[in-house]
């Protein structure tokens, strides 16, 4: 044995000599504190920090060195703690997000970077934020005055799916300024809304932003309970088969395994599902496997490692069946049948006018078919549920879910319990985007907790998340347009095939929206749409921001540009001519009576593009040159790069707010006044990063004249908060916002009438302002108001169940939706004609949001929406081959990074809707919908290549350029 080596490698002695007297140690300094810890075999630095030191601010988004969420700074350098062996940190100094703020006697003083992320609205769901801040911190240490380019290079692989990249960049610039100069933080560049409200229309920071920048924000996987077990799910791994045999005995016998359950052990119903209960909780022997992610068995064990090892000991035998891999195949008569009801989930029909007559009246008729791929939400926080049995025989489920009450029902049904026995305790969500509406691990965790009597955590890794949860529908969309020579649309026919995958999820609703929006935001006399939402053996498809309209907008907006070219017409003029306006009737027969800001969006985007082009020309041609008479869509050369071409492209869109289609769209909210004068608004509606909590806080502050800091928001708890309904269809600002507004108003009335009586004043003269109530010369703080209410025996809270205006089911005409949001976008792209590579340079995005409630939050939604649309156009493609998932790692499923972020120029258009809170309507989805076709239209304008199949393929572009 070499002596030098012994000295060098102090960790190894014990094993090495076979004398086990000393366990290797790690000594490291974390956030200024020295730790001496025994080394644990196989441990990563992330595990050491999160599990042993309980520093859970460091997040795990992928565990595969792709997302950057786990970034910590080791000896001054940012590294990925998920793939960094803990023992390598021996002797080193580690800084995590928890170590950034100064904690003194006066409380916490945020680091300027943390403060800047908060103030600049860079924090949305917050899951990526610790990684963003740690990476930027290391950058600023090295480079106190980074350029935009340097910031982008530094954050290249630190992903944010909420994608507020421009805000992240401006936050870093602001913090750098403050760190260099000691001056106060430069404020963000956000236009306030013109409206005359006190709180509404002005920018406010999220109530949870500070916790999210300090690492204190707790997400589900950060929870630990006494005696908690770890669960894993055995997945089928084959796309279509009958399960013939399942042997879990060896797994049961494995030390550390506490319970293994199969379909035979189900105490309640066997299926779950948001609308149709067609999704087996576990597939039983003799039953059908319909996709690779189907669950066969679940295990709870003392450790994650034991649970994982148990999976390997389970064996299944299948009778494999032919695979249905796309919706067109699924509809063929000879296709294998996947469900008792057949492969057709739903045939959706829209009929308006006389289609034949419409086409007969047309001078030109164009027809083309488009394809869009499956895409994944790739929220940065993988799914996690923790089920905890309580002493009084109930089950708590801690989960970040978009529909807590639906979780409660589905979990209770699976346990065979009354719904009230289950308590969903909603957690912060690291993004959802529609992907956290269905059941993921909630039921499995609860079943295991019930069987073992112990808390059970079920955390998906990224691989499992990608394989299991419902995706955006892949579609095939055929559009046939008829128009007169002067550009008036006479008829539109669309035919859609949607790949709903193995189970219904929200497929029928999503494809319904795709269909009713498939003719675009245009007035068309004669229209017909048919959609076939089909079951296949692919992962299920369900809700995803845009809800089907993302796909149909790509098709119809591409067609509009093709039509403009055929008619030799300006694409903007063509859209303007046909745009929905007040008095128009949609293809489902709904007359629009108010709040149609589409024309203004179109005009403003066009004007902005014109302005930008002028500005560019002025800077490129110092002498002014002749003012360009070309169309704004003409291709332009790139100075110094003859092989590159730039051009702008345009598109428009609309998107319903709310469930519509005759659904009872309602939400409950409560507003409480507490003895200390604090207010609290409660609803089960979900916060997934989109900013609902800020909106609710602002509404209550507005109505009760209180400062925001006095209003607490409690969401997503089925015991404590009334049902807010699903967080989907961009409905929460409108529906739950109204519920909160009306609850606050009714509390205000109760207070006013109590004080009016008590002080003998007319209730109208009672003023709510500055956190006090002014009555007859007195100014009562809210704590005193509470006391007054209490002593009068009045309730100090109000409950309101708001019902949105009634809507009609598809096919009955009339109002299918109570509001629509509208948008127009223009994208500028640069295409490399030698390689086919495409880069998006600028996006101008105008959205008619009714009323901007929180301009700062809206900015984040616009940035994130545009980036998601950009990803949809350029980077995202969830590949399934014969039912097997190819893109089963984040490394293979690319979401846009800061490097691909164009300059985003937001324009807010406000055509208030009368019933919406202060006129507001939904914004979450519309911001994303026009981006893809604006980009592909720009590509066409640059190089004459029509992209009719997403994502854009640089090789195909090149082929087409060369052809």
């Amino acid at each position: 044995m070499n002596e030098g080596m012994l000295a060098a490698c102090r960790h190894e002695e014990a094993f090495y000599r076979g004398t086990m007297e000393r366990q290797p140690q790690i000594s490291l300094t974390v956030n200024g504190q020295l730790y001496q810890l025994p080394a644990v075999p196989g441990e990563t630095l992330a595990d050491l920090l999160r599990k042993r030191l309980r520093l859970t601010g460091t997040k795990i988004g992928c565990n595969e060195a792709e997302c950057g969420a786990c970034t910590v700074v080791v000896d001054g350098e940012p590294v990925l703690s998920c793939t960094y062996p803990a023992q390598r940190a021996d002797g080193k100094t580690v800084l995590t997000i928890e170590g950034l703020a100064e904690r003194g006697d006066e409380g916490v003083k945020l680091h300027p970077l943390q403060e800047a992320f908060v103030e600049h609205g860079a924090v949305q769901c917050g899951f990526c934020i610790p990684g963003q801040i740690m990476t930027s911190h290391a950058l600023l240490q090295r480079n106190p005055e980074p350029s935009s380019d340097e910031i982008r290079r530094a954050l290249k692989d630190t992903l944010c799916r909420c994608a507020g990249y421009p805000s992240i960049e401006s936050a870093i610039q602001a913090a750098a300024h403050t760190l260099r100069t000691g001056e106060p933080l430069p404020p963000p560049d956000v236009k306030e809304s013109g409206d005359g409200h006190r709180v509404i229309g002005h920018s406010h920071i999220r109530p949870d932003a500070i916790q999210k920048v300090t690492g204190e924000a707790i997400f589900t996987d950060d929870l630990v309970f006494e005696g908690m077990l770890h669960a894993r799910v055995k997945r089928a791994g084959v796309p279509h088969a009958i399960l013939r045999k399942l042997d879990v005995e060896q797994a049961r016998a494995l030390p550390g395994v506490v319970a293994v359950l199969t379909a035979e052990d189900l105490p309640g119903v066997h299926n779950h599902g948001l609308i149709v209960p067609d999704w087996p909780i576990m597939v039983g022997v003799g039953e059908r496997v319909r996709y690779v992610g189907d669950a066969l068995a679940i295990v709870a064990a003392e450790s994650e490692a034991a649970a994982a090892a148990a999976l390997d000991l389970m064996t299944a035998e299948f009778e494999e069946l032919p695979v249905v891999s796309n919706p067109v195949q699924a509809r063929r008569p000879d296709a294998p049948v996947l469900h008792e009801s057949g492969n057709l989930l739903k045939h959706i029909k829209v009929r308006k006018g006389d289609l034949e007559a419409g086409f007969a009246a047309a001078d030109v008729i164009l027809e083309h078919t488009f394809h869009t791929p499956t895409t994944d939400h790739a929220f940065l926080e993988p799914e996690c549920s923790v089920a905890v049995p309580t002493e009084d025989g109930r089950m708590e489920v801690y989960v970040g879910s978009q529909i807590p009450y639906s979780d409660r029902q589905q979990v209770a049904d699976a346990l065979g319990w009354p719904h009230e026995r289950v308590h969903i305790v909603g957690q912060l969500m690291g993004g959802g985007f529609g992907g956290k509406e269905d059941i993921a691990g909630q039921i499995h965790a609860a079943l295991l907790a019930n069987a073992t009597g112990r808390p059970v955590k079920l955390l998906f890794d990224r691989h499992e998340s990608l394989i299991v949860h419902p995706k955006r529908h892949a579609t095939r969309i055929r559009v046939k347009l008829g128009a007169t020579k002067d550009g008036r649309l006479t008829a539109v026919e669309t035919e859609l095939y949607g790949d709903s995958g193995a189970y219904a999820s929200l497929g029928e609703k999503v494809m319904g929206r795709a269909t009713t929006h498939s003719v675009g935001p245009y007035e068309i006399p004669d229209a017909r749409s048919d959609c076939y939402a089909m079951y296949t053996n692919n992962p299920p498809a369900g809700a995803f921001r845009g809800f089907g309209v993302t796909q149909s907008a790509f098709a119809v907006e591409s067609m509009m540009d093709m039509l403009a070219e055929t008619l030799d017409m300006d694409p903007v003029a063509l859209r303007r001519k046909n745009a929905l306006r007040i008095g128009s009737t949609t293809s489902t027969g709904q007359e629009l009576r108010e709040s149609v800001g589409l024309l203004e969006c179109i005009d403003k985007v066009e004007a902005e593009v014109r302005r930008l082009i002028k500005q560019d020309e002025a800077s490129h041609r110092p002498q002014g040159g002749p003012d360009s008479v070309q169309s704004i869509f003409a291709p332009r050369p790139v100075p110094g790069a003859p092989h590159k071409r730039r051009a702008w492209g345009f598109s428009a869109a609309f998107k319903n707010t709310g469930l519509g289609g005759g659904a009872d769209d309602k939400a409950g909210a409560e507003v409480h006044l507490f003895p200390d004068g604090k207010l609290e608004v409660r609803t089960s509606s979900a916060e997934l990063g989109q900013g609902l909590v800020t909106v609710l806080q602002m509404i209550v502050a507005e109505e009760l004249g209180a400062p925001l800091s006095q209003v607490n928001v409690l969401v997503m708890d089925t015991d404590l908060t009334p049902d807010g309904g699903p967080t989907t269809a961009s409905r929460q600002t409108y529906v739950t916002g109204n519920a909160a507004r009306l609850a606050a108003q009714s509390l205000r009335q109760a207070i006013a009438s109590t004080l009016a009586e008590k002080y003998d004043q007319p209730p109208e003269q009672i003023i709510f302002a500055d956190g006090t109530v002014r009555v007859g010369g007195r100014s009562l703080p809210l704590a005193e108001v509470y006391a007054a209410m209490h002593s009068e025996g009045r309730q100090s809270y109000a409950v309101y169940e708001y019902r949105a205006p009634a809507t009609k089911p598809l096919g009955q005409g009339g109002d299918m939706h109570f509001a629509f949001a509208f948008a127009a976008q223009a994208a500028e792209v640069e295409v490399n004609t030698l390689t086919g590579e495409v880069r998006v340079l600028r996006i101008v995005a105008a959205n008619d949001v009714g009323q901007a409630v929180n301009p700062l939050g809206l900015k984040g939604q616009i940035e994130g929406g545009v980036m998601m649309g950009l990803g949809n156009a350029l980077t995202e493609q969830f590949i399934v081959e014969d039912g097997y998932v190819v893109t089963d790692r984040l490394a293979r499923y690319r979401i846009p990074s800061i490097v691909q972020t164009p300059e985003i120029i937001p324009i807010v258009v406000e055509h208030p809707t009368s019933e919406g809170p202060y006129g507001a309507k939904g914004i979450g989805e519309i911001v994303s919908i026009p981006t893809t076709p604006a980009i592909t239209n720009a590509i066409y304008n640059a190089v004459g290549v029509r992209v009719d199949s997403l994502p854009v393929d640089q090789e195909k572009i090149l082929q087409a350029i060369k052809a």
Partner: protein, 289 residues
């Protein structure tokens, strides 16, 4: 199952070699771990008993001029490699290639040793090293030897290094006047984002002629190779369109481009090879002025 049981951190080459040969097997070297950790975590590689962390081996951390060579330790993190004025002076292609590897967090730990030992046919750092005519310093219990880089590869992902062998560092010729190198790569941001093709080139310029040239393209075939036929065409010639076209023909004649699903067809790669060759050649040519 733990991915490893024992973690050793030798400080010098002989201790590292000793660990490789005498620690309980299976033993694996770990440098940055950016390839290895994923292989272990994702089950592409069976758990090991011992990981030998070589990032603290002093000889492998060195980066300096040694005589008429630039020595780059195999375990120097790539961020340090690309930030080094010596590397910037003598090996521009390596700077350009290294800067494109992963993001900063990956580059802070990833190493050239790992990039070469992982033996993928298009690893960026490796391709640059090939064009720069690097020799690898390989140590095993019998001693140290210098090996041309291209001798280290057996097939895609298969290195010729023996389990008891260690890549200690790389020796690169110093750049003389009128010599230069450059690197470029083309990625696919659409869909499965993976590099499609890269190309590194070194040349010596004699006025308006290419006195000498070395070209490495990845992936060129199952194992890395130089584009020798193209080099022959270019050597001694002025840089004209006709010469370039001939060189490209030669390069395409010797390349074995493949179609990889969701990434690129062989045809696209052939086309891009032309784009890259022209670009990189031009850059190096100007630099060598």
């Amino acid at each position: 199952m733990n991915l490893w049981k024992q973690y050793l951190c030798p400080k010098n080459v002989s201790d590292a070699l000793h660990a490789l040969t005498s620690a309980p097997p299976p033993v694996s070297i770990i440098a940055g771990g950016t390839d290895l950790m994923l292989d272990l975590q994702q089950g592409h590689r069976a758990p090991v008993h011992t990981l030998v962390d070589v990032t603290d081996v002093s000889e492998m951390k060195a980066l300096e001029i040694r005589g008429d060579e630039l020595y780059v330790g195999a375990a120097v993190p790539i961020n340090r490699v690309v930030a080094s004025p010596l590397v910037q002076e003598h090996a521009q292609a390596l700077v350009e290639a290294g800067s494109l590897i992963g993001g900063p967090q990956v580059r802070n730990v990833a190493t050239l040793g790992g990039n070469v030992a992982h033996a993928l046919p298009a690893a960026d750092g490796m391709i640059a090293l090939v064009a720069l005519d690097a020799r690898a310093v390989v140590a095993n219990p019998d001693g140290e030897r210098r090996v041309p880089l291209l001798d280290l590869f057996l097939g895609p992902g298969k290195s010729a290094l023996q389990p008891d062998e260690l890549l200690v560092g790389f020796c690169l010729p110093l750049r003389a006047p009128h010599q230069a190198s450059a690197f470029e790569r083309i990625m696919r941001t659409q869909g499965v984002a993976l590099p499609i093709l890269n190309l590194a080139l070194w040349l010596a310029r004699d006025d308006d002629r290419i006195a000498d040239v070395r070209i490495a393209v990845g992936p060129f075939g199952p194992t890395p190779r130089r584009a020798l036929a193209a080099e022959d065409v270019l050597r001694g010639q002025p840089l004209t369109g006709a010469v370039l076209a001939q060189a490209l023909d030669a390069l395409l004649g010797e390349a074995r481009f493949r179609t990889s699903a969701y990434r690129a067809t062989a045809d696209y790669r052939r086309h891009l090879a032309g784009v890259l060759l022209q670009d990189v050649l031009q850059t190096a040519w100007q630099r060598a002025e």
